[in-house]
């Protein structure tokens, strides 16, 4: 069974082609890492999967649990179990974390034919999930990401992931801006949420995060294409040699 199947996906922004034919398959329980130099199109791929309309899909198909993902509204993708941890989470002053999460949880429940969560259960859930990423009470009582430090924003993304229990999580450079302690906490959080039926795509620039979240498959994305796929050793090789050899290999 394949959870996510991407076939020859091409996408552009303002007429400029960024994704030039991506192929990728993710099965339940798998962890995939996508690595690659800046500007390769990693965030673009994540955005397209999440349904960001700034990017235009010009070719290809994506199926998620055998459904055509590309025709689904972004909110339905989320409700169906797709989660994107943003590289740059936005601040939304005036929307409280609590209201935000309550709405999100209830939308998902509605999608699955469940009743809205009771206030009591919600508060318990909030408490439990905060522990997963050692999230400060101070943060959940504020507006979404407002005044959060870079690291706090990343923690908040994983906290939201914990609340929504997605089937497929795409973590876009969740490690950037985290010190080593925070990285460990966040990575442990992700591991705690992992089940045999959930999958993760870890987008990262560095090998470091992969010491904690160990991938089954590593892909190298360069210039809008996946140019190399291998086991977790590929990440180590990249760490050693840098990206230049990939660029050379591809450009030859």
């Amino acid at each position: 069974m394949v959870m996510l199947k991407i076939n020859n996906l091409k996408a552009s922004v303002d007429g400029k082609e960024i994704l030039k034919g991506i192929n990728l398959e993710v099965k339940p329980g798998e962890v995939h890492a996508i690595m690659g130099p800046n500007g390769s199109g990693k965030s673009t791929l994540a955005s397209v999967l999440a349904g960001n309309e700034n990017f235009e899909v010009t070719e290809g198909e994506v199926s998620f649990f055998n459904k055509d993902l590309l025709v689904m509204a972004p909110e339905d993708r989320a409700r169906a179990g797709l989660f994107l941890s943003f590289q740059y989470p936005i601040e939304i002053p005036g929307v409280s974390m609590v209201n935000f999460m309550k709405a999100a949880v209830n939308e998902k429940r509605k999608y699955n034919g469940q009743e809205p969560i009771s206030a009591q259960d919600f508060l318990k859930m909030l408490r439990d999930k905060k522990k997963v990423v050692e999230m400060d009470d101070r943060l959940t009582s504020r507006s979404v990401n407002e005044g959060f430090s870079g690291g706090e924003k990343k923690k908040n993304e994983i906290f939201q992931m914990a609340m929504l229990e997605p089937k497929l999580s795409i973590l876009d450079e969740t490690d950037s801006g985290l010190d080593i302690d925070a990285l460990r906490i966040v990575a442990n959080g992700v591991n705690k949420l992992k089940t045999a039926n959930t999958s993760t795509i870890v987008i990262t620039h560095y090998q470091r995060l992969l010491d904690y979240i160990v991938p089954d498959v590593v892909h190298i994305l360069y210039n809008g294409r996946i140019v190399k796929t291998g086991g977790k050793d590929l990440a180590l090789e990249l760490e050693e040699k840098g990206y230049d050899w990939i660029k050379e290999e591809v450009n030859v």
């Binding site: 999440a50 349904g51 509204a73 909110e75 989470p89 005036g94 929307v95 998902k108």
Partner: protein
């Protein structure tokens, strides 16, 4: 679209004044009557300001004046049961409730108030006779210098309204809620006149709810003068929720003495044509004025907030924040004038106007106007007109919160900044609910109120 032009309307009104002078003056003392002639001359001289004139750049007053209205020189014979009316309190909000009908003080409403000793709530007309010193000292004193012709029109016709006096040193915990009702079987023009005197070192909060009870064309031209004496703290929350065929010009003139602190908050939910004139004069040092407004408009509504903060002396602060959310073909205007006079050193004056237009057809006009004649001051102003933040919208969608719901959340968040300054916690919550309901297009009338104003 108006049925007549502004000059004809002006003469019609002046003629009406001359024909009914005796009826207007009846029962009122000299202190109120002697200023009428001057006022009507003033109105004659200035007329109904044209659209495009300095203070009415984006607002056509003929939308209000250009219709046919009846006028009543007598208090209405009310058939409303006061018991029912008194339930028209915002729930969970314990207030002293006062009712005015078509601009006239509903006398019975004062009887059951049980106000703390010394606090005076009266009809404007009774108070004018009963408290001559207060009227001599304050009546018609705070709008003279501004020469607002619409206010002069009110002065000429003023017969009743609310009088409120908080004596020196009295702190009123519970807010006073003033419910202005417009009702009747015919279109009606109303001139309501209020005078509020807040004594030294006292504190009071007033919540004003403007409602319409029947579907007629109403035009309420209200003038409120507020005197805030030394070290007093005064809050004035106005909730405008009249039906969309009604017109309203609401002018408030605030005069603040040394160390006083005011908060004026105007929430406009419904009303076809709304013009708010907010004049605040900081006349004593270390006075502070906080002026906030939020309008949520749709359909063909037009809302114009005109504010004038006059820093007349040194060491005063003013903070101003106005926000508008415009949908459909609604239009809104904001004019924020700040005057810092020559001697008003160490002034701090901040102004911000932020707006969201949800459609291409909605139009927002904003005009800051800073006149600074002192050199050692801190002043800032800023205005933005934008749409819903697409990036924030996508963030919410990516968490499963659908487009409509996400939009609501963001609009509510936008409005929240104004609500966060409300100094009555329960009222802040109530405002939150009202705003949410208004944004959802549900009835925004105060729940539990017998008034069906939509």
């Amino acid at each position: 679209m108006s049925e007549i032009d502004s000059n004809t309307m002006k003469y019609k009104l002046i003629n009406m004044y001359q024909q009914n002078k005796a009826a207007i003056e009846e029962g009122l003392p000299d202190v109120v009557n002697r200023v009428r002639e001057n006022a009507i001359r003033d109105f004659d001289r200035q007329g109904i300001p044209e659209k495009g004139s300095e203070a009415y750049k984006y607002t056509d007053l003929m939308r209000a004046f250009g219709k046919t209205y009846g006028y009543s020189f007598k208090a209405p014979k009310t058939d409303v049961d006061p018991e029912t009316i008194f339930q028209c309190a915002v729930p969970d909000l314990d207030t002293y409730t006062i009712l005015l009908e078509n601009g006239w003080f509903y006398n019975k409403s004062g009887e059951q108030l049980n106000l703390p000793k010394g606090i005076i709530v009266r009809s404007f007309r009774d108070a004018a006779t009963e408290f001559p010193e207060l009227f001599e000292k304050h009546y018609n004193k705070y709008l003279e210098s501004h020469k607002e012709s619409i206010a002069s029109f009110n002065t000429a016709f003023a017969q009743d309204g609310l009088f409120l006096h908080i004596p020196d040193g009295v702190v009123l915990e519970k807010p006073i809620q003033i419910i202005n009702l417009l009702r009747g079987g015919n279109p009606l023009l109303v001139n309501q006149r209020n005078l509020i005197v807040v004594g030294k070192n006292s504190q009071a909060k007033v919540i004003v709810c403007d409602h319409t009870l029947s579907q007629q064309n109403f035009f309420a031209n209200t003038v409120t003068e507020v005197f805030i004496d030394e070290s007093a703290v005064f809050d004035y929350y106005s909730i405008q929720n009249q039906h969309n065929q009604s017109s309203q010009i609401s002018s408030i003139f605030v005069n603040q003495m040394k160390n006083s602190n005011s908060l004026l908050n105007t929430l406009t939910l419904h009303g076809g044509f709304v013009r708010n004139n907010i004049h605040v004069k900081l006349a004593g040092e270390h006075a502070e004025a906080n002026v906030y407004g939020l309008s949520l408009v749709d359909g063909k509504q037009h809302v114009d907030n005109f504010t004038f903060v006059d820093h007349a002396v040194a060491n005063c602060n003013s903070n101003e924040l106005y926000k508008n959310v415009l949908d459909d073909e609604a239009t809104a205007a904001f004019n924020g004038r700040i005057l810092v006079r020559e001697d008003a050193q160490k002034t701090q004056a901040f102004q911000s106007n932020k707006n969201i237009c949800l459609t291409q057809e909605a139009k927002m006009y904003t005009k800051p106007q800073l006149e600074i004649y002192a050199d050692d001051v801190k002043c800032s102003h800023g205005a933005t007109i934008g749409q819903i933040d697409e990036e924030a919208l996508f963030y919410l969608k990516s968490r499963g919160i659908g487009g409509h719901e996400a939009r609501m959340m963001l609009m509510h968040a936008f409005a929240y900044e104004v609500l966060s300054h409300i100094r009555v916690p329960v009222l802040m919550e109530r405002y939150g609910d009202l705003v949410e309901k208004r944004l959802r297009g549900e009835f925004s009338k105060c729940e539990g109120c017998f008034v069906h104003c939509n």
